[in-house]
């Protein structure tokens, strides 16, 4: 069952790659939050109940509700154009992401043993690489932020790899979540909108000395 949720997780990554409207992107991230909730529930049923309930609540609230709401608010407030312009066309990026999926599975299989053969590790690697790729290939700042959120989802899945033995690691992953929400979205994007009128990544170069 967990494997099924992980497969749907990868499907959301595909959706992100081909998303043209920013709303689709946000919906995919919200879906990822829900799927992570399900994965947490099914995988971590051996740790302390209070801890578990906290984790579940946090995942559900932060990932699936708060962050998408924040992103919506940002888009509306800064009147960002609702389409994402990619540097690399959507077709090619979908192709590249499929390639990433295949290669990661292949590599994980050749490095059998220990943590590498674990499917959570593979999925987390895929997510992190996809997030990196999306960060490189999109123009807007808001998509930059959203790819960072995807990457950070990947880190949370990574923490699940050994989550049963070390529940502290999962807690750290969740702290990263909260960090991202507060810092990036609360402070960064709010203020960025005041300084840069058209939110393009290229304009960040002006921050250079």
């Amino acid at each position: 069952m967990v494997n099924l949720l992980l497969i749907f997780f990868i499907v959301t990554l595909f959706v992100c790659a081909t998303a043209i409207r920013l709303k689709t992107f946000i919906k995919a991230i919200a879906c990822q939050g829900l799927l992570l909730f399900g994965i947490f529930f099914l995988r971590l049923n051996e740790i302390n109940t209070v801890n578990l309930v906290l984790l579940l609540l946090e995942t559900l609230i932060f990932k699936a509700v708060v962050i998408p709401y924040f992103l919506h608010y940002l888009i509306k407030k800064n009147k960002i154009n609702r389409e994402s312009d990619p540097y690399i066309s959507n077709f090619t990026s979908l192709f590249i992401i499929t390639f990433i999926v295949m290669t990661t599975f292949y590599l994980a299989n050749t490095l059998r043993g220990g943590v590498f053969g674990n499917i959570y590790f593979v999925v987390s690697m895929i997510t992190i690489f996809t997030g990196l790729f999306l960060m490189i290939s999109r123009k807007k700042i808001i998509t930059h932020v959203m790819s960072f959120i995807i990457m950070e989802n990947g880190v949370v899945v990574l923490s699940l790899t050994v989550g049963i033995e070390m529940p502290m690691l999962v807690n750290l992953g969740i702290l990263l979540d909260i960090f991202v929400t507060v810092l990036v979205l609360g402070i960064f994007a709010n203020k960025i909108g005041d300084i840069f009128k058209e939110a393009e990544v290229g304009h960040l170069e002006r921050l250079r000395d």
Partner: protein, 653 residues
């Protein structure tokens, strides 16, 4: 006078073909032919062995040469230079003989001699229209690259000869069994590169798209049909002899072949020139043959008989199939060129009304090359697919994934080939002409049509009765997988049974089409069937320029592929309010060729320009060079003596 010369050549080709085919057919059935010429001390003994593999190739060569000579005689009738013609015909015969000898001789040096004769004669045949500059450039390109390939082959042969001291092909077998694995693999890679230049694997393919359009059409057809298959023959022969490390070798072949197949068809789609399109397609089909051979080899390595049989049978059958439909396509292109004097797809159109028989033959070949049932292309692709699919259930995930990607690549290649040939057939033959023809094209002569009919009959019969041809393949495949001759091994009969069913379905399909068509004609007899211009959505002036052009047909595709290809756009900027005539053209250039060849050539030219001072035309300098060379030789031969003297001199201190 001309006609008689052509007849002599036809007679000679048929005679040679018949004689060798008789021997070859026997060998195909299992009775090998062996004849040892006792050469002199330099060459050693020259064995001429025709086993099942050589027999298969010889039969294909004979068939293609027969169709070629018939077509060529008709095609060349329009050329007036009789001396050139006689030379051409002589070289044709020499080429035929040398190719048969290449497939039979198994002595290193004799093999190289015959290989060289073949290269030289095909070069001279290609530059038939020597008054055109591009023809000579293309021919020289072919010549030089063939020799680079031969260099690799010579190096590998010398290596084997120096280690084993024998000059027979079997020496390779001795060499491979006594040496460690990595050495055998290196030997194979060298031979693969050498033969790969001839076969047209990527990245050794750059001569193909130039040579094929430049040569006259019957030569192009034969080049694509059999000359590049000699490269495959070389690889197969070496594969038989180096019987170790099959898995690694197989993976190398597979990797290069998949790349060639995809690259060839991706570039084929965006070509403007019909013959260049067909040339790139040959690269793709060589890739498909390579995929078959690759998975066959991997099957041998994994001791998976089914995989091995499927791979080799598919590859060998595709050699036959490809020679058939590619030569047919080139003959069709030649007919088009003869009648319209242009090969630019964008300027053709509507030829089906004027040259109906050529169109039908071209259509049959186009359907076959896309691998669609009920014709023969599907049979060989099916064999390869069955091998790939059966290897999906293996124990290693990596291997399954690899096989799956090859599987998908083959499906994509088929789909892209369909895109390419709907464009080629559709734009050239259908619709109306896009530029006015100077001379009204007519159907070509019967002499040119007859060999095309021969090839088409073979294509259809292989498609509808594949089990017969599979039986013929039993012995060549048995060379690789000796186990199948064992009567308890049922793989062959199993595949045979499946293929019978496929052929049967093909027959049903054809019958069904006729039935539906007849129903339509019968019921339509009482109704009004009228003819009117194509519906143009209300436009009054129906212009042939409104039709889709070839570039627009593939535009959606080329938009997607743009990162891979390098495109040159000649854009005319519109600046004025009432612009005059502007031209806009796009040309696609081969990126690999650009990086591998053009850049290196530029660098080499620059380097050599610096050394230009050596060639200053004054005889005194040349004498000086000669003197320096003599002094150098003396110095080197006495080098050891001089060296010891110097050492002794220093020892005194």
């Amino acid at each position: 006078m001309k006609n008689r010369n052509g007849l002599i050549l036809i007679f000679l080709t048929l005679a040679l073909g018949a004689a060798t085919s008789f021997v070859a057919f026997n060998a195909l059935m299992g009775r090998n032919f062996e004849f040892v010429l006792s050469g002199n001390t330099i060459l050693g003994q020259i064995p001429i062995r025709i086993d099942a593999l050589s027999a298969w190739m010889i039969l294909i060569i004979n068939f293609t040469f027969t169709t070629g000579v018939l077509y060529g005689t008709g095609y060349l009738r329009n050329y007036n230079t009789s001396a050139n013609l006689k030379l051409h015909q002589f070289l044709f015969f020499v080429l035929h003989l040398s190719m048969i000898l290449v497939c039979s001789i198994q002595n290193f040096i004799a093999f190289l001699i015959v290989w060289e004769i073949m290269t030289v004669s095909s070069f001279l045949l290609i530059i038939f229209e020597y008054w055109k500059k591009e023809t000579i450039k293309a021919g020289l390109n072919f010549f030089i690259q063939s020799h680079i390939g031969v260099l690799f082959i010579i190096v590998s042969f010398i290596w084997v000869m120096s280690q084993t001291g024998l000059a027979d092909f079997n020496a390779v077998r001795l060499f491979a069994t006594h040496q460690p694995g990595a050495v055998a693999i290196t030997l194979f890679v060298l031979l693969f590169i050498g033969f790969g230049f001839k076969a047209g694997f990527v990245p050794f393919h750059t001569w193909l798209p130039y040579a094929h359009p430049a040569a006259p059409s019957h030569i192009s057809g034969m080049m694509s049909g059999v000359i590049i298959k000699l490269g495959i023959y070389g690889i197969l022969r070496m594969l038989l002899l180096i019987n170790s490390n099959y898995i690694v070798i197989g993976e190398i072949i597979l990797f290069v072949s998949v790349f060639s197949g995809l690259y060839g068809v991706i570039l084929a789609i965006v070509q403007h020139n019909l013959k260049r399109l067909l040339a790139y397609h040959s690269i793709e089909n060589i890739g498909i043959i390579g995929i078959g051979i690759g998975i066959g080899t991997i099957g041998l390595g994994l001791k998976n008989d089914f995989l091995a049989v499927a791979g080799f049978a598919g590859g060998l059958l595709h050699i036959l199939n490809h020679s058939l439909f590619k030569s047919l396509l080139f003959y069709g292109a030649g007919s088009i060129y003869q009648q319209t004097h242009t090969l630019e797809i964008e300027q053709l159109g509507g030829l089906i009304k004027r040259m109906p028989r050529t169109a039908v033959l071209f259509l049959i070949a186009a359907i076959a090359i896309c691998g669609l049932p009920p014709l023969n292309g599907f049979i060989s692709e099916y064999l390869i697919f069955s091998g790939l699919y059966s290897s999906l259930k293996s124990n290693s995930f990596a291997f399954s994934l690899f096989m799956l990607s090859v599987f998908v690549a083959l499906a994509v290649i088929g789909g892209l080939a369909m895109l390419c040939f709907t464009k080629a057939f559709g734009i050239v033959f259908l619709g109306t002409e896009r530029k006015q023809y100077h001379v009204e094209p007519k159907e070509v002569s019967r002499m040119m049509l007859f060999p095309q009919y021969m090839a088409a009959v073979m294509i259809i019969s292989i498609g509808l009765f594949p089990q017969l041809f599979l039986q013929l393949l039993k012995n060549p495949v048995a060379l690789f997988v000796p186990d199948i001759l064992n009567s308890s091994n049922g793989i062959f009969s199993y595949q045979s049974g499946i293929l019978t069913q496929i052929g049967f379905i093909g027959i049903i399909l054809t019958v069904l089409v006729f039935v539906v068509y007849e129903i339509k004609t019968l019921t339509g007899r009482n109704k009004i069937n009228s003819v009117s211009p194509t519906w143009g959505c209300g436009y009054k002036t129906n212009d042939p320029r409104l039709q889709y052009t070839a570039s627009s047909f593939v535009k959606t595709y080329s938009n997607l592929i743009e990162p891979i290809l390098s495109m040159h756009k000649d854009v005319a900027v519109v600046n004025e309010i009432f612009p005059g005539n502007k031209q806009y053209s796009t040309h696609y250039y081969d990126k690999l060729e650009f990086y591998l060849i053009d850049k290196n050539l530029k660098w080499l030219k620059k380097l050599l320009l610096k050394l230009n001072f050596l060639q200053n035309g004054r005889t005194q300098f040349y004498i000086l060079y000669g003197l320096i060379f003599i002094l150098l030789i003396i110095f080197i031969s006495y080098g050891e003596y001089i060296w010891n003297t110097i050492k002794g001199f220093f020892k005194l201190f």
